[in-house]
């Protein structure tokens, strides 16, 4: 069988996988490496549940072939907290009640993370645009938007403090 060898970093750790070339980043993360925080809702880039960060940019892991990760840094929801210290987005999602069934949450948080990295004080419209590709069926998005705003403010305060 035709196989490719791909090296990348996942949540700061070097990984090497040898898999068929058509294998997606999502399959590698979930099936080969056993990190199931990254969800699968459609497998076709329509729902956003599998969103991860590739060098800080939000990408859909189900549409990313594993070779596209070669030499890049992949961050999944498991890689966001620093030990017990949650990311401001995770904290804000918990505090604001932005999580219900939670299945969209990892992808939603990572799309928001990519936004806040570039734009720490986004407007409501900018937040909506950034998460427009992440479907949520439970929350009506209201508390998610509030959580992202709150995390942005908190990150800005932390940055100013540093």
């Amino acid at each position: 069988m035709n196989l490719v060898e791909v090296e990348f970093t996942l949540n700061g750790e070097r990984q090497k996988v040898i898999v068929p070339p058509r294998t997606t980043l999502l399959e590698v993360i979930r099936e080969h490496l056993g990190l199931t925080g990254t969800k699968k809702g459609c497998g076709k880039g329509e729902c956003g549940a599998c969103t991860v960060l590739l060098d800080g940019e939000a990408v859909l892991a189900c549409l990313t072939l594993i070779s596209q990760a070669e030499g890049h840094a992949v961050t999944t929801i498991e890689g966001l907290a620093k030990g017990e210290q949650l990311d401001p987005l995770q904290e804000a999602f918990i505090e604001e009640g932005a999580i219900q069934c939670g299945y969209c949450t990892p992808g939603m948080i990572l799309s928001a993370k990519a936004l806040l990295r570039k734009n720490p004080s986004p407007t409501q419209e900018e937040i909506k645009t950034a998460i427009a590709g992440n479907l949520c069926r439970c929350t009506g998005y209201v508390k998610i938007i509030k959580a992202v705003q709150k995390a942005g403010r908190r990150s800005a305060e932390v940055a100013a403090h540093d």
């Binding site: 199931t36 329509e46 549940a49 299945y103 937040i127 998460i131 427009a132 949520c136 069926r137 209201v142």
Partner: protein, 766 residues
């Protein structure tokens, strides 16, 4: 009365694990040696099976098992009310989702390929796609008992006499879509074969114990040998109330004695999963010129699809709620729940109430306009009060929140400032409008149904409590509400409560997470069991502290003397209970209050307890494109005492957007029994860009039978928003919406037909 936890916006107890990715959903599970499964489904919407050839699949590399109907050891059928859906079809298929064979293989790829290699010989039968056509004489019979699954007829008063008294009668025909739940986690999970000969099924669900029963019946196993785990579930909304994958999983694990994973793709979920009933509704409503409703005649044709599941009860609720929360003395309410060869319809948040609320609240809006009356005033004038007879002749003895909810919405900023808001339209061809609608929603399973709950309360040696209530957590937040109510009742710190839901081994059977019932059921079950356990703690602590029992009080970490500084921690009390031989465990039971008899002509009706909700919407219609944007929604749910305001807001936010999708975009379209939109590129869901600003105003009428006064909130929050939006569209542009979803194309056509386009109005060629 003041509470430590009840009524407080306590953050969800499961939020951290969901925010960090640590939460393991059932589709995340993997076991050593696990096989992958695929289902071979029907190629025709309606056909006789003349032969099934699995020989090529059996020999495909990596295939471990291929199962067909003779491999079902027990009853080859399932269904919550009538088990008329085959586990694996033998001689006939009735819709495209029907399962014919199961494959388990070493890899997902091998299972997929092998399933494709199964050939079935069919003899196609005529396809019934409209319930009205299915009722015609000579129509092919989908089931032996005929195409009418259930017929309801309820009459009160004399409807023709009522119309005779009316000053104004309006008659309209409404159509509602086949909405899809679209939970983000599709149906799936893993089953394992246990050393004791039993099976564990890990699959998202809304009723672990009923799944256990249905699996056991199909496998011909003692239910005690079946464990069902379904927590957490990645969304349900009613769509995981019925079996979809669970029996197939169990069957494969049973035959292979290996772990097996089956996880439906989104397309397969659309094909095999449950939907909301498409209904065709004929409404004739009579009113006096002062606005008093006098007569309502309703006839409903509901498309229940190929199998029964909860179709009967859903359509009963359509009948029960057809008149809204109003007094109407003369009614004739009839419904036909009809089999077709379309996708199966069953439970979906609102459970038959969404369809009739759209129709009735549109009738109310039309009446208000024709009478020249304020639409809020018309509703207030007719709204039910506690003690009234409802239109079905049932006395509303429990809390009735229609008037408080309507009154509160009248005081909202959006309603008070609606004229100014309407004038704020941004461009000359955009028009704004505000609409209002109200609804009630029965809680619980209704009359004549086993509606019970129970809680396992156990003090552990370490001084924490386990609380086991089986209603699965599907996202609605019952786990957190249970923790709050348990901590309140057991008078301990909430950190000392561990809640277990959705697991037949760790929780007592409390029925389904459906019918807006989980908080009410679980809370009452906790209240039923806690006093017994607390008595035992008190007894042990009294001996330990050398104090009389009535001189003791609970404090967050244990018990202490009321007038001394002596105290015992829960750990110490647990140890003392063991020494005294006092059980640290209580299993409680709770029975829902129910009407003594069913309403004639409507099985399952009435419910005793109702939640209420009024919603108003501000919309902006682009008259160049027909596109409607919902800018603001205000919801005023009256659901008894609120256990967790943050949870209630979350439900109301999400419900408003789900009801908006129903109004404007969502419909699973079927032609000739085939699905036309099977993914999220063609079945359009509201995104963050579509979501309106949303405000929840809480109105709390304490319900005497509810735990801490609570009622159920989960469904009513998504119901009236739909007609609030369509009534707002009328307010904006003068187009009356009687068929939903009103997509941009539909609205544009209606604007053109009414010569309301800004450029004078010609219908373009489409």
């Amino acid at each position: 009365m003041s509470f430590r936890y009840v009524g407080k916006p306590i953050p969800r107890v499961d939020a951290r694990e969901k925010a960090t990715g640590a939460a393991r959903y059932m589709t995340d599970l993997a076991f050593p040696g696990m096989l992958w499964a695929k289902v071979k489904r029907s190629d025709y919407p309606h056909a006789l099976i003349k032969g099934i050839d699995v020989s090529k699949a059996r020999t495909w590399p990596g295939v471990v098992a291929v199962l067909t109907w003779p491999d079902v050891p027990g009853y080859n059928g399932f269904g919550i009310v009538v088990p008329d859906q085959p586990v694996l079809c033998r001689d006939r298929v009735r819709f495209l989702g029907d399962a014919i064979a199961l494959v388990a293989a070493q890899t997902e790829e091998a299972a997929t390929k092998a399933a494709e290699l199964i050939t079935v010989e069919y003899e196609p039968l005529p396809v019934l796609e409209d319930p009205r056509a299915a009722l015609k004489p000579g129509a092919v019979q989908i089931h032996a008992g005929g195409n009418t699954h259930q017929h309801n007829l309820v009459t009160q008063g004399d409807v023709e006499k009522g119309f005779g008294e009316a000053d104004l009668i309006i008659e309209n025909y409404y159509v509602t879509p086949r909405q899809m739940h679209a939970f983000l986690e599709t149906e799936g999970g893993v089953a394992t074969a246990d050393p004791d000969g039993g099976i564990t099924v890990y699959a998202g669900s809304q009723h672990s114990y009923r799944d256990q029963l249905q699996i056991a019946r199909a496998l011909d196993l003692n239910p005690r040998l079946i464990r069902v785990v379904s927590n957490p579930t990645g969304g349900g909304f009613g769509g995981k109330d019925e079996i979809v994958v669970q029996i197939h999983l169990a069957l494969l694990a049973h035959h292979t004695r290996r772990p097996v994973k089956l996880w439906l793709s989104r397309e397969e979920s659309v094909r095999a999963g449950i939907k909301r009933h498409r209904e065709f509704l004929y409404y004739r409503t009579g009113v006096k010129k002062d606005g008093i409703l006098v007569a309502n005649e309703v006839k409903i044709f509901a498309d229940t699809g190929a199998y029964a599941t909860l179709g009967g009860p859903v359509v009963s609720l359509s009948v029960g709620h057809a008149c809204g929360p109003y007094r109407i003395p003369h009614v004739r309410l009839e419904s036909f729940c009809v089999y077709t060869n379309n996708g199966i319809s069953g439970a979906f948040r609102g459970f038959g109430v969404n369809q009739v609320t759209f129709a009735m609240e549109t009738q109310m809006d039309i009446l208000a306009h024709q009478l020249g009356m304020d639409p809020l005033e018309l509703r207030l004038k007719n709204a039910l009060r506690q003690g009234d007879l409802n239109p079905l002749g049932f006395r509303m003895d429990t809390s009735v929140g229609a008037i408080p909810s309507l009154t509160a919405v009248g005081g909202s900023e959006l309603w008070k400032n609606r004229w100014a808001k309407k004038a704020e339209a941004t461009l000359p061809w955009k028009r704004r409008g505000v609409g209002i609608a109200t609804a009630l929603q029965g809680n619980g399973l209704g009359a004549g149904r086993p509606d019970y709950g129970g809680a396992l309360l156990r003090l552990l040696p370490g001084g924490t409590y386990e609380v086991g209530i089986s209603c699965p957590e599907i996202g609605q937040g019952n786990t957190t509400a249970y923790a709050q109510m348990a901590a309140e009742t057991l008078e301990c710190s909430i950190e000392r409560i561990r809640v277990y839901t959705g697991d037949t081994r760790k929780a007592v059977d409390s029925g389904s997470t459906s019918a807006s019932r989980s908080v009410y059921t679980g809370g009452n079950s906790i209240l039923a069991g806690a006093p017994t356990l607390k008595e035992r703690l008190r007894k042990a602590a009294a001996g330990l502290l050398g104090l009389p029992e009535d001189d003791l009080e609970f404090f967050p970490e244990g018990l202490r003397g009321k007038s001394t500084s002596r105290s015992a921690t829960l750990e110490e009390v647990a140890r003392e209970m063991d020494r005294l031989g006092l059980s640290r465990e209580v299993k409680s039971t709770f029975l829902w209050p129910a009407a003594e008899r069913e309403i004639e002509g409507a099985p399952g009706l009435p419910e005793i307890i109702y939640a209420y909700n009024t919603q108003i919407a501000l919309v902006e219609v682009d008259t160049l494109t027909g596109q409607t944007r919902v800018l603001e929604v205000v919801s005023v749910p009256e659901t008894g005492r609120v256990i967790n305001p943050q949870g209630l807001e979350g439900q109301a936010d999400g419900g408003a957007v789900m009801g908006m999708g129903y109004a404007l975009m969502e419909d699973i379209i079927m032609e000739g029994g085939y699905y036309k939109n099977t993914n999220f590129s063609t079945y359009i869901l509201p995104t963050a860009l579509d979501a309106p600003g949303h405000v929840t105003v809480m109105v709390e009428e304490s319900e005497a039978t509810g735990p801490f006064g609570a009622k159920g909130v989960g469904e009513v929050v998504c119901v009236p928003v739909t007609p609030a939006i369509t009534n707002a569209i009328y307010d904006a542009v003068g187009v009356r919406v009687t068929k939903i979803p009103v997509t941009a194309e539909e609205a544009y056509r209606a604007l053109a037909d009414n010569s309301l386009l800004p450029h004078g109005g010609t219908t373009p060629h489409v």
